[in-house]
């Protein structure tokens, strides 16, 4: 069974600063993917970044990067140079190659202070 745990219900960061959101997961699958989704107040689910489990290199997308620690089953998201538009709920998720079920964590609500 897959599980995803986000231990930080809420986080706050000053504009232009860096923040890290934590995520741990558990899966019995050997082939899987990990994701961070952003959900602003508009409700739309926006894919921020994804990581293939077989790749050792950490994924990056502009100001967003991950720290993928496969042995520790940890997948944290770092947001650099935070902007007001980054304020949203962030969900960590895992997708097993065999089951194709996208399993979400409980989310972290990020506030960005001007």
């Amino acid at each position: 069974a897959q599980t995803v745990t986000q231990s930080q219900p809420e986080m706050s960061v000053q504009e232009a600063e860096t923040v890290t959101l934590s995520c741990t997961y558990d899966t019995s699958e050997s082939d899987y993917y990990l994701f961070w989704y952003k959900q602003p107040p508009s409700r739309q689910m926006i894919l921020v970044i994804r990581q293939e489990a077989y790749k050792q290199q950490n994924a990056t997308e502009n100001r967003f990067s991950v720290n993928f620690q496969k042995a520790a089953k940890s997948f944290s998201l770092k947001i650099s140079d935070s902007q007001l538009g980054d304020a949203a709920m962030y969900f960590c998720a895992s997708l097993g190659g065999a089951t194709n079920k996208l399993i979400f964590g409980t989310g972290t609500l990020l506030a960005v202070q001007p």
Partner: protein
């Protein structure tokens, strides 16, 4: 030109009613999904269809019945609505089963009074 579109965006109804939510994708994807986001923002998969065939059916009450008339459409019909059904329902699609990119619709907020 929305890739995954759901209608309606908002649905307010009385307990006991029957309602449907429609979903269409114009991406040419084979696989479609329904996810439920509860009041605590927790997202959970409900169903998945691949080429009109049901492939994932989580523990969902029988009052929920998905229907896929073709691979571009996946509708969700809910009978005898209950207060606990109030949630945001998301449709999503992916190119095929075991494809890692899911595209989400904008959600349907269902309020049962």
């Amino acid at each position: 030109d929305t890739a995954v579109s759901q209608t309606p965006k908002y649905l307010v109804t009385q307990m006991g009613n029957d309602k449907s939510i429609k979903c269409e994708q114009n991406l040419g994807h084979d696989t479609m999904y329904w996810y439920k986001q509860d009041s605590k923002k927790f997202l959970k998969i409900m169903f998945s269809y691949n080429n009109k065939e049901l492939i994932i059916n989580e523990t969902v009450p029988n009052r929920f019945s998905p229907k896929s008339p073709d691979k571009a459409h996946l509708n969700l019909h809910i009978n005898s609505l209950e207060l606990g059904d109030s949630a945001v329902y998301f449709c999503a699609s992916s190119l095929r089963v075991s494809n890692e990119k899911l595209f989400f619709g904008s959600g349907t907020q269902l309020s049962v009074l």
